[in-house]
C-alpha cells in the first residue's frame, strides 16, 4: 500500500506485530483508540476513561495524591537498591551508609530515598489538606477518607522506622525519644497508668522487660535487636500493610464516585 511507505520509523515500530501484541490498540489517534488505551492497560485502567474537566487541573488537585503514590514507588525502587548494600547490624550499619555515598556507583540513592521520604510525608499531609478543603470526605467517600488517615499514619511510621537505619546519633536518639512514649502507654507500657493493675498477686505482668516498648525495641533500649526489628518493619512489614490499604484506597476512589468533584 502507498500509505505504508510514508510511515516514519516510530510508526513502523508501533505498527509491528510485536508492539501490537503488547499494546493492542495501536497509536491512540481516534477517540475509540484513546478510550481503549486506558481500558486495555492494567496500570492505566486505574483511571476512568473520561474525567470532568476540573479534575485534571493542577490548581484543583495539586497532584498531591498522585505524587504520594509516585514517591512510594520511587522509595520502593531506591529502597531495594539500598538493600543490596546495607546490613542491619550495629557493626556494619553506619559504615555501610557511608559506603553508599562514597563507594557505590550512583551514590545518590540514599539521598533520593531520604529526601523522597520527607517529601512523601509532606505530600501526604497536603493531599489530606486538599481533600478536606474540597469537602471530598463527605458521603459517599467517608470510608475512603478513613483509609486515607490510616495511610497517613502508616507513612509517618514508615518514615520513623527508616529513621533508625543509618545508626548515627540522629537516628538512635530520635528513635529513643519516639519510642520512649511507648513506655507510658496506658496498661501495656510499664510506666503507663493502669499498668500496675495488670498483676497476679505480687507479680507484675507489665514491666520494663515485657511491655509494649520492649516488644517494639526487642530490648530495654535501642540496640541491635531494635535495628533488626525496625529494618524488617521498614522493608517488609509496614510497606505490606501500606500496599493493601493503598489498593483499597485507589479502588474506593473509583467506586465512591470517582475523582473528587461535585456529584
Amino acid at each position: 500500500m502507498a500509505d505504508e511507505k510514508k510511515q516514519n520509523p516510530l510508526e513502523k515500530i508501533a505498527n509491528s506485530q510485536v508492539w501490537k501484541s503488547i499494546f493492542r490498540t495501536g497509536i491512540p489517534v481516534t477517540r475509540r483508540q484513546r478510550m481503549m488505551a486506558i481500558l486495555n492497560n492494567v496500570f492505566l485502567h486505574l483511571h476512568p476513561v473520561r474525567l470532568p474537566k476540573h479534575a485534571v487541573k493542577i490548581k484543583y488537585t495539586w497532584c498531591m495524591g498522585g505524587l504520594s503514590f509516585f514517591l512510594f514507588l520511587v522509595l520502593t525502587i531506591s529502597g531495594i537498591l539500598l538493600m543490596f548494600y546495607y546490613r542491619p547490624t550495629v557493626e556494619y550499619a553506619y559504615t555501610d551508609i557511608i559506603d553508599l555515598t562514597e563507594q557505590v556507583p550512583l551514590g545518590v540513592m540514599r539521598e533520593i530515598h531520604r529526601w523522597g521520604a520527607h517529601a512523601m510525608v509532606i505530600a501526604v499531609w497536603l493531599h489530606m489538606f486538599r481533600v478536606f478543603m474540597t469537602g471530598s470526605y463527605k458521603p459517599p467517600r467517608e470510608f475512603n477518607w478513613s483509609v486515607g488517615v490510616l495511610l497517613m499514619v502508616i507513612t509517618m511510621f514508615l518514615s520513623f522506622t527508616g529513621y533508625l537505619l543509618p545508626w548515627d546519633q540522629l537516628a538512635i536518639w530520635a528513635v529513643t525519644v519516639g519510642t520512649n512514649m511507648a513506655r507510658a502507654h496506658p496498661f501495656i507500657g510499664h510506666e503507663g497508668p493502669g499498668a500496675s493493675l495488670l498483676a497476679i498477686g505480687d507479680i507484675n505482668l507489665v514491666h520494663a522487660g515485657s511491655d509494649i516498648r520492649f516488644a517494639l525495641l526487642g530490648g530495654r533500649f535501642v540496640g541491635e535487636a531494635t535495628l533488626l526489628r525496625f529494618y524488617v518493619l521498614h522493608c517488609i512489614g509496614v510497606p505490606f500493610i501500606a500496599m493493601i490499604l493503598m489498593a483499597v484506597h485507589f479502588w474506593r476512589v473509583r467506586k465512591d464516585g470517582g475523582i473528587s468533584g461535585p456529584l
Partner: protein, 372 residues
C-alpha cells in the same frame, strides 16, 4: 535596625506571644461566625486570599529566610540537614493554604451570585484521560523526579557521628514530623502527649466525615458554606500541628528551653521552673494544710474539674446556644464532636494554665503514672 527587627522576632516567637497571636488571628482569618466575618472584612484579612495576599506572604517568608541565612545563629538551624523539609514547608504550607482559600473565595462569590462552583461537573463536557490526564501525570512526575534528583545531588542526606548510647545529645529531638507531639510533652505527660493525643488525632480525623453532616461544599473549594468545620480544621492543622512542629524545630534548644530564631543556643540559659499541681494549690496554698495521705482525697478536685470539663459545657450548650444543632445531629454525633473538640481545646487550655498560674498537673498521681 536589622538587629532591632531580629530582636523583635525573637521576642514574639516565644510561644506565650506567638501562640496567642495565632489563636487571636485564627477566627479573623477563617471567620466561623458572622461577627468575626464582619471584622474579617473590616480589617481586610480577605485580601490575604487574593493575589496581593500571596505576594505579601511570599515576601514575608523570603525576607525571614534571607534574614535567617545571614544570621550566625539562625543559619545553624536552617541548614541542619534534617530541618530542610521544614524550610520547604515554609513555602508549601502558605502556598497550599492560599490556593485553597483563593479558590474557595472565588467559588463563594459564584455561589452568592447563584452560579455553580467552578468545578461544576458537566456530564457533556468531559475530557479523555488519554491524553489529557496521562500527559499531565507524566510531566508532573518527570518534573518532580528532576527536582528530587537535583535536591539529592546538591544536599547530602543527614548523617551525624556513629550512634553512641553513652552520649545523649542536648536537645534530643524526635523526627521533625513528630516534633509537634514532642512539644506537647512540655504541657502533658508522655501517656497523653505521646499516646492518647495521637490516638485522638487519628480518631478525630477519621470521625470527621461521620460527624460533619453538612452536605454542602462537597467536591469543590468553598468556605462560607462550611466555615465552622474549616475553622476548626485550620486551627488544628495550623496552630496545633504545623505551628508546634515549627516551635519544636526552631525554637527549642538545649534542655528544651525556648530560644528565638536569631538567638544563640546557650546551654546555660536558666529557666525558672516552679510549677505547682492543682492539689497543692488547693490543700497547701488555699487551705493551708499538708497534702492528705489518701491519693483520691488529695486529687479529688482534679477529678472533679476534668469530669466537669467534659460534661458540663456540652450539656449547657445542648440546652442553649447549640440547641438546634443538637436536635439536628442527634446525641451520638453531638457527644463525639464535643468530646474530640474539648480534647483538642484542652491543649491550649493547659498551655495557658502553665503560662499564667504555673500549673503543672490538674490531676497528679505519679504513684500510678496518672498525671493530667
Amino acid at each position: 535596625m536589622i538587629d532591632i527587627i531580629k530582636h523583635f522576632i525573637n521576642v514574639i516567637s516565644n510561644p506565650t506571644i506567638s501562640f496567642t497571636l495565632l489563636t487571636v488571628l485564627a477566627p479573623l482569618l477563617f471567620p466561623p461566625t458572622d461577627w468575626f466575618e464582619k471584622y474579617h472584612f473590616k480589617f481586610g484579612f480577605n485580601r490575604l486570599w487574593k493575589k496581593e495576599g500571596a505576594y505579601f506572604m511570599f515576601s514575608c517568608i523570603t525576607l525571614f529566610l534571607i534574614a535567617g541565612y545571614t544570621d550566625e545563629f539562625a543559619i545553624k538551624i536552617l541548614t541542619k540537614p534534617d530541618n530542610i523539609p521544614i524550610v520547604l514547608m515554609f513555602y508549601l504550607i502558605p502556598l497550599t493554604l492560599w490556593l485553597a482559600m483563593n479558590q474557595a473565595y472565588n467559588n463563594d462569590e459564584r455561589l452568592a451570585r447563584g452560579e455553580a462552583p467552578l468545578e461544576q461537573n458537566d456530564p457533556k463536557d468531559k475530557v479523555l484521560v488519554w491524553p489529557d490526564l496521562v500527559y499531565i501525570e507524566l510531566i508532573c512526575l518527570l518534573l518532580f523526579m528532576v527536582f528530587l534528583i537535583v535536591w539529592s545531588v546538591y544536599i547530602g542526606a543527614p548523617l551525624e557521628e556513629p550512634a553512641n548510647p553513652a552520649a545523649t545529645p542536648n536537645p534530643s529531638k524526635a523526627p521533625w514530623y513528630f516534633l509537634g507531639l514532642q512539644e506537647m510533652l512540655v504541657y502533658f505527660d508522655p501517656w497523653i502527649a505521646g499516646i492518647i493525643f495521637p490516638i485522638f488525632i487519628m480518631g478525630g480525623l477519621m470521625a470527621i466525615p461521620y460527624i460533619d453532616t453538612n452536605k454542602k461544599g462537597q467536591g469543590y473549594y468553598s468556605f462560607k458554606e462550611r466555615r465552622i468545620a474549616i475553622f476548626i480544621f485550620m486551627y488544628g492543622w495550623l496552630a496545633l500541628w504545623v505551628y508546634l512542629i515549627i516551635v519544636g524545630t526552631f525554637f527549642r534548644g538545649p534542655n528544651w528551653n525556648f530560644y528565638g530564631p536569631f538567638e544563640l543556643w546557650d546551654a546555660h540559659k536558666v529557666e525558672a521552673l516552679s510549677n505547682v499541681n492543682l492539689s497543692e494549690y488547693l490543700w497547701v496554698k488555699a487551705w493551708n494544710q499538708g497534702l492528705p495521705e489518701n491519693i483520691l482525697a488529695r486529687e479529688f478536685l482534679g477529678f472533679v474539674v476534668v469530669i466537669l470539663y467534659f460534661v458540663v459545657p456540652p450539656a449547657i450548650l445542648a440546652k442553649t446556644y447549640l440547641k438546634e444543632f443538637y436536635l439536628k445531629i442527634g446525641s451520638t454525633r453531638y457527644s463525639t464532636i464535643m468530646f474530640f473538640g474539648l480534647a483538642m481545646l484542652s491543649l491550649p487550655i493547659k498551655m495557658y494554665l502553665r503560662w499564667t498560674i504555673n500549673l503543672k498537673y490538674i490531676i497528679a498521681i505519679p504513684e500510678w503514672f496518672f498525671n493530667i
